[in-house]
């Protein structure tokens, strides 16, 4: 059966998955809030977590649409962001050919999969700037660049207002690192595709 929400072509379904404590829900909240309050779209965020807040499997499901969203749960994500191996394994069977798969390359090992994916060492990059907990913000920047589902300005402003006071500048720096990494990755692929005459770009 067709995806109910996707019968409207302007709808994007995003799943972000990882462990409790990684800021998975906050990443989902930033994406949903940026879309709803700054990009003039509708969005829903539902979260799932276990009785334990930290360490357990956790996921955020964000639907972004130009129209009213009836059904807020996701069955076949358009974008799947994985920050843990167990999260990846839980959701990988739900993807479709067009799904954009984004992973933290140090935490997720995809094995043999049929679709292309976009990898970033988000947690390692966060450690390099001295805040491992900002891996989610780096991933949010990476998501913004790769998926183009929320605007850069909306994403940045929402990051700044969603993080603890006094940490705005560092979080924006983390966001930009992820965003720039994503842009560079896209550019590299464009060049590669352009170099291969006759290949499918």
């Amino acid at each position: 059966m067709a995806d109910i929400n996707n019968t409207i072509a302007t709808t994007t379904e995003v799943v972000i998955t990882g462990f409790g404590g990684q800021g998975i829900i906050l990443a989902g909240r930033i994406i949903g809030k940026a879309a709803a309050l700054r990009d003039g779209k509708e969005s829903t965020l539902v979260q799932s977590y276990g009785p334990e807040s930290r360490g357990g499997a956790c996921s955020a499901q964000v639907v972004i649409s130009d129209k009213t969203i009836h059904y807020p749960y996701i069955r076949r994500p358009d974008v799947l962001v994985c920050m843990s191996q167990s999260g990846y394994e839980k959701y990988i069977d739900d993807i479709k050919d067009s799904t954009l798969l984004l992973i933290d390359e140090d935490l997720v090992h995809p094995g043999n999969i049929k679709i292309d994916f976009f990898a970033i060492p988000a947690t390692r990059m966060a450690e390099e700037i001295g805040r491992k907990m900002m891996a989610n913000i780096i991933m949010t920047g990476f998501f913004t660049a790769i998926s183009q589902k929320i605007s850069l300005a909306a994403a940045k402003d929402t990051v700044a207002e969603s993080v603890p006071k006094g940490t705005e500048a560092l979080n924006i720096k983390a966001f930009s690192k992820g965003y720039d990494f994503g842009l560079a990755l896209l550019k590299g692929r464009e060049k590669k595709a352009a170099g291969k005459i006759g290949a499918i770009a």
Partner: protein, 381 residues
Amino acid sequence: MKPAVLTGAHYITGDEACAEGALAAGCKFFGGYPITPATEVAERMSERLPEVGGTFIQMEDEIAAMASILGASCAGVKSMTATSGPGFSLMMENIGLGIVTETPCVVVNVQRAGPSTGLPTMGAQADMMQAKWGSHGDYEIIALAPSSPQEIFYQTITAFNLSETYRLPVLIMTDEIVGHMSEKVVIPDAKDINILSRITPKGRKDNFKPFKPGPNGIAPMPAAGDGYKVHFTGLTHDEKGYPVMTVEAQAIMMDHLMNKIRNNLDKIILTEEYRMDDAEIVIVSYGVSTRTSLAAVDEARKLGIKAGLFRLITVWPFPEEQIRQIAKRVKGFITVELNLGQIHYEVQRCAGYRVPSYLVGHPGGTIISPDEVIKVLKEAF
């Protein structure tokens, strides 16, 4: 002091929107005990009530929480508590006390899957019959079922208005999914929000009868300390509030408690229709399952099935007459709810055997997929 009405667009959860709706309605007291998935209502109230001159108390348990909001209301303050299944069970006796003492207040149940401790972090709609019948004895109750954070904001205001108008505890039967879900919530200007408050007595303070109905059928309610002498009891009482242990007094009191709701059904019952004009099969739903049902109706229409949605905003009192009328012109009903059959039986009762009535239910822990509804739509009709 900060404003009670946070005018503007917010991206907040249903629980947070519930707290903001309460504040916008003029709630000044919250007594509660934390429980997943209702804790965020209490959390928000604990931050916001002191900002608007209100009081937040974390009580020792849900029995005391329910007692505290009755006490606050008797002191003249709009009051609320929020809980989930296990806490709702503990509140039942004092909800009955609120009904018999005609004390306005709002009780929020962010439902999770039960029975007992069940699935604390996962949603259900399985306390719907408990909302109607959970406290002992006969009574009429009002219960609302919001389907989004925006709706929970407005319905919390409606709940306060109904409780103040009809002098009874009003229940908001939401669920973990709506409670924890974030969506855009637009809060209007304070002047655009319709707020109703209880009628207070005027005139002589001697020989005051605190349970003597006024012209609208509801007794004016003084606040403790206003100087009116009042007597509140859980026992059957007369208009003075004094216990009277007779068959006649019971009949008079029960008549009043039942009829103040039954005589005002047209003012209390709130429903919504979606693609019902030419509908042959009617989905009945409420709360989060409304969202499933809206998606299912759209999908069914694409498949050429003439489905429509009759959505309950107030689940109690149940819109018996509306269901009876709809039953005369349709092929059948499907009730979509996140339990294994509760409101379904109400629909069946009112539809009679005129047309078939099916259930798309679920034991709880997730939202019902529109696919499940489509399957029954295709197979049953």
